[in-house]
Point group: C2
Chain length 396, copies 2
DNA sequence: CCATTTATTTCAAAATAAGAAATAAATAAA
DNA sequence: TTTATTTATTTCTTATTTTGAAATAAATGG
């Protein structure tokens, strides 16, 4: 039986959770949001201020009401720092983020090879980032990694990654051993969702799905303000939704998976087979823009497939918003337009009005930043916040 | 901003929640499940025993371990009673259930017409049930209603119901006014899921989806041990997942919705149009069983459609189990076999192993019983449990 | 400048939870 | 049959947490 099923109990945890969810809140907000008495809030926030986790934020509010203005509180940026790395097969930035999620340092990582080499590369990245920024090692509170593949977050394991050719790699332990710093792994699609929630477009949303448009299609859901991982961590496999049982065979063994139509890898392969000169989906969009019929067809077919799959998702889960994170470089082209159109045509009118569809391009460091946030969240939830008096931080 | 976002805080609520989720737990179980100290558990359960909500359960355990045997506790059946009604266009039973979800009385309701008549009919049902069972009115703690359609559970409103031809009906208020008893409404698909969780096949599952095979296809999800309603209560509209953009037009205005292939109403309509003599899908199965090609084709097409939609659901949400509640009477026929087959063929191997697929027939009173449970849950969560000393039950 | 409004704090009282040690009820072994 | 061992539950004291009421603060609008 799991320990502590529901969620945190003590008011302290409720308060920390509220800041993880909302970023900036006055004591008054906290009281009405959590139902905890205002006097208790004063006490709890005082402790967190003493400890240095929270900070009062000089308010320059335009819209000020009648009475005494509220003082907003938020995490104190320099309370702690986290390294974030996106472990993919390609070179990618490692970053150092502060407690507010600001990127304070970047470092270019080589593409990951063996787990051991990756751990070593992360140690180098960490050392360079600390030197570069002057952050003392003691203030480094965790290392977060976003990995493409099937991840067991609790165990800190990469169960399987096709891109890295890893199987059952205890990467969290390896990195912890290499660096001496507490380390956490997460799935990259989940990391994107966490990034969207913490500093992206989903800041104040409690229910949303994010869809990663990359070489493959990834997806993750926030439900009731929390990342939903599924029964055994598999939620979000939209990429393998079947669209046509007679469609082309996917590497997963099934036919007509979404990935075969809308995944960057497949689209490029199809384009190259058709004799188009392209190195990325961006090039396909460019060709379509100048009227290339073949390119147009590929993008339309991809958008149609993605639109149908996401329409299903919307009707099954009724998210407040679906966020497409474009990492491949589709931009505002045919693909996006088709996807939107097909979604609109295939959901019930009631969802049409209430579901926001957002496409946006994400930067190279987005995943690394999100990975750092995973570490920050874990750190705060596991509750290693130094104690003021003897606030018992609960085990989760 | 919502009051009390996360979940309950006080240990009392955590304990009640644990019993809502698991039904029967010893103090020891509670302590390890919730992380609350054993001494606190003793105190809390003592209060709940005093109040009469909990009851010690004489254990006849086969598998007894080493030390002192644990004493299981559970809700005391006679602590309170709830009326449950399924409001559909057809005659349906109203039931009286005790705190453990046992049905202690049944009453046959006429088909619902106007909201006002429905409220009156429910009053009659209530009075008869109380008379019939001898339960004192003071012990009737709530009335729960399961309604087919779009429901705003918080407001106690039926936003829209095609089957009843209702629009924005404040049914909870009407029934409360008519009966003087606190009343709650829920969507029928949600009610089925709640029923499965509380006394059906999903008792110990934290993540599952239930699919109602009725005139239309309904669906609801449990996520992390709680019913997930979606951003605006629309989660579970699997019935309108598009399977073929060129398919037959659905009454929702789109083409090729799942309902058009696998909904009982559509299947019957198709069968009748094809000249088959049938009054129910059960008849179609019977015809298929004796080799009728047309009947076979209809069932196969339906099962194929349902299988594909559910395969998508599984890959999107990774539930532990998908429970099909057969209210139409398909039974163990072609439809079920095809659905299973298609699901298996269209999900990733990793889901094949970890996702349980269960079909089962539900009784006529299942929905009414589930509706009563909705009332019970609401009652316990809102926290009107009489106070022993001054246990502050939190607002939710 | 004063009434009003909203935010935050103070402080004593009450409620709650934890921890250690005691007690209970079983089984396994001597 | 004892006796040791194991697991469950309770008791009781202590410490912590939370509340509620009243006080204080900081703004706006006459």
């Amino acid at each position: 039986m799991a320990v502590n099923e529901g969620s945190s109990r003590s008011s302290l945890n409720v308060v920390i959770e509220a800041y993880l969810q909302h970023g900036m809140l006055s004591r008054s907000d906290l009281a009405s949001l959590t139902g905890i008495s205002r006097s208790a809030i004063t006490e709890i926030t005082q402790n967190l201020l003493d400890v240095g986790l929270l900070q009062e934020f000089p308010v320059i509010q335009e819209k000020q009401g009648r009475g005494r203005p509220a003082i907003s509180l938020r995490f104190r940026a320099s309370h702690g720092y986290f390294v974030g790395v996106s472990i993919t097969g390609t070179p990618s930035p490692a970053i150092l983020a502060d407690m507010q999620g600001n990127v304070v340092g970047e470092y270019e990582m080589p593409p990951s090879e063996t787990p051991q080499k990756t751990a070593t590369a992360i140690r180098r990245a960490m050392n360079d980032l600390l030197r570069q920024t002057g952050v003392p090692r003691a203030r480094l509170l965790g290392i977060g990694m976003a990995v493409t593949g099937v991840i067991d977050e609790r165990a800190g394991l990469c169960r399987y990654s096709a891109a890295l050719n890893w199987r059952d790699v205890p990467i969290a332990r390896l990195v912890k051993e290499s660096t001496g710093v507490e380390s956490y792994v997460g799935n990259d699609a989940n990391a994107v969702a966490i990034g969207e929630k913490l500093f992206g477009r989903a800041r104040d949303l409690r229910h949303f799905s994010s869809v990663i448009l990359g070489g493959n299609i990834g997806c993750a859901h926030y439900i009731d303000g929390n990342l939903y991982r599924g029964y055994d961590g598999g939620a979000g496999e939209v990429g393998h939704v079947t669209l046509d049982v007679d469609g082309p065979r996917c590497r997963c063994g099934k036919n007509g998976c979404l990935d075969m139509y809308a995944g960057g890898i497949s689209m490029q392969a199809i384009a190259q087979k058709a004799g188009l000169a392209c190195d990325s989906v961006h090039d396909i969009e460019a060709l379509a823009a100048v009227g290339n019929a073949e390119a147009l067809a590929i993008l339309r077919r991809g958008g149609q497939a993605l639109g149908l799959a996401v329409a299903s998702l919307i009707q099954i889960n009724n998210p407040e918003c679906v966020l497409f994170a474009d990492v491949e470089g589709f931009g505002k082209g045919i693909f996006q337009a088709t996807t939107r159109q097909v979604i609109e045509n295939n959901i019930l009118p009631r969802f049409l009005a209430s579901t926001e569809i957002i496409f946006h391009q994400v930067e190279r460091s987005f995943l690394a930043r999100a990975a750092a946030s995973i570490a920050a969240q874990q750190y705060l939830r596991v509750g290693i916040v130094p104690r003021a008096n003897s606030m018992g931080l609960l085990n989760k």
